[in-house]
Symmetry: none
Subunit: 160 residues, 2 copies
DNA sequence: AAAATAAATGCATAAATATGCAAAAAACTA
DNA sequence: TAGTTTTTTGCATATTTATGCATTTATTTT
């Protein structure tokens, strides 16, 4: 799907560079071979929960949610990818395996993102059960996880 | 100065209600007897660091910095009220008493909110000095604290 | 207090963003 | 796989927001 790829690219670009307008983002994407219109970007940014905040030096910048912003508009994101070992599907639910003792904090992080796709989580010691909301497909949950934890699937695949 | 009053009103309104457009904010302000143009609002919002983020149900909402956002655009605040023992005024400054050892982290939290009213803070072990910005009254600082820490004054009053 | 300097504001408009609608693409079903 | 439904997208445009410039208001200096 073209859209998923685009969403990921948008998040990556926004995280790494200071993007001031949608037109600017449009060009960056084009540079990566991803082509769309400003209208589509506007919709995608909404879906990703991306906000537009005043930048310290003048102008504005786009910024991902689930971040902690201070009055300078600077943000950061905790990286918890390395603790995740595996992601499998079962009975329409999602099971995430972590390294021992890390299920709870990982689930807490996932909950904290408040993603629409996820109705709730249950965590043991090294296993998390993710309950998708009604009407949300497993594929959508995968996409959702990829958004929360960029590169996670790739990471799991290569470490196997 | 008219501007300070307006900035405070903007923060208050944005904190308490879901504001979708600058025009909407304009009307709310007019209702409070504060009159200006959209152009001025745009400039003020920038100065306050107010961002525009997608709202969960569709549409957008303005949001102060200092908040932790999740992807639904909902914000929440850590509750640190219980560590605060007393709030008194002295020489146009504000003195906050905390339980021992908690002044520093409380001050850090207050600083982090980036409130316009507060020029800066100094913390010892159980005492914080809040220096209001020029032109800001003690009453306005009280209101500001009530916004940062809802219910704080009530809590102190009842525990005495 | 008058003059000089800086800050704030409105007006008009440019710039940027969101959205209704129709078409195209993708996903699903029988 | 042909038909049906859902999702995604572009186009055109309405809506919303930012800003240059001139003017007013406030602040500072002499």
């Amino acid at each position: 799907m073209q859209k998923t790829k685009r969403l990921l690219a948008i998040e990556k670009i926004i995280t790494e560079e200071k993007i001031t307008t949608q037109e600017e983002l449009l060009k960056k994407l084009k540079g990566k071979g991803i082509d769309c219109t400003q209208a589509t970007l506007s919709r995608n940014l909404r879906q990703l929960g991306v906000g537009r905040i005043p930048a310290g030096n003048g102008g504005y910048k786009y910024s991902l949610p689930e971040k902690i912003r201070n009055s300078e508009g600077i943000s950061f994101k905790p990286n918890i990818v390395p603790v995740i070992r595996d992601i499998v599907e079962a009975k329409g639910l999602m099971v995430i395996k972590t390294i021992p003792g890390n299920a709870s904090n990982t689930a807490f992080f996932i909950d904290g993102t408040g993603r629409y796709e996820i109705a709730g989580t249950i965590a043991g010691d090294d296993t998390i059960l993710i309950i998708p909301r009604d009407g949300v497909t497993i594929q959508q949950v995968h996409t959702c996880l990829e958004i929360i934890l960029p590169g996670i699937h790739e990471q799991i695949k290569t470490s196997k």
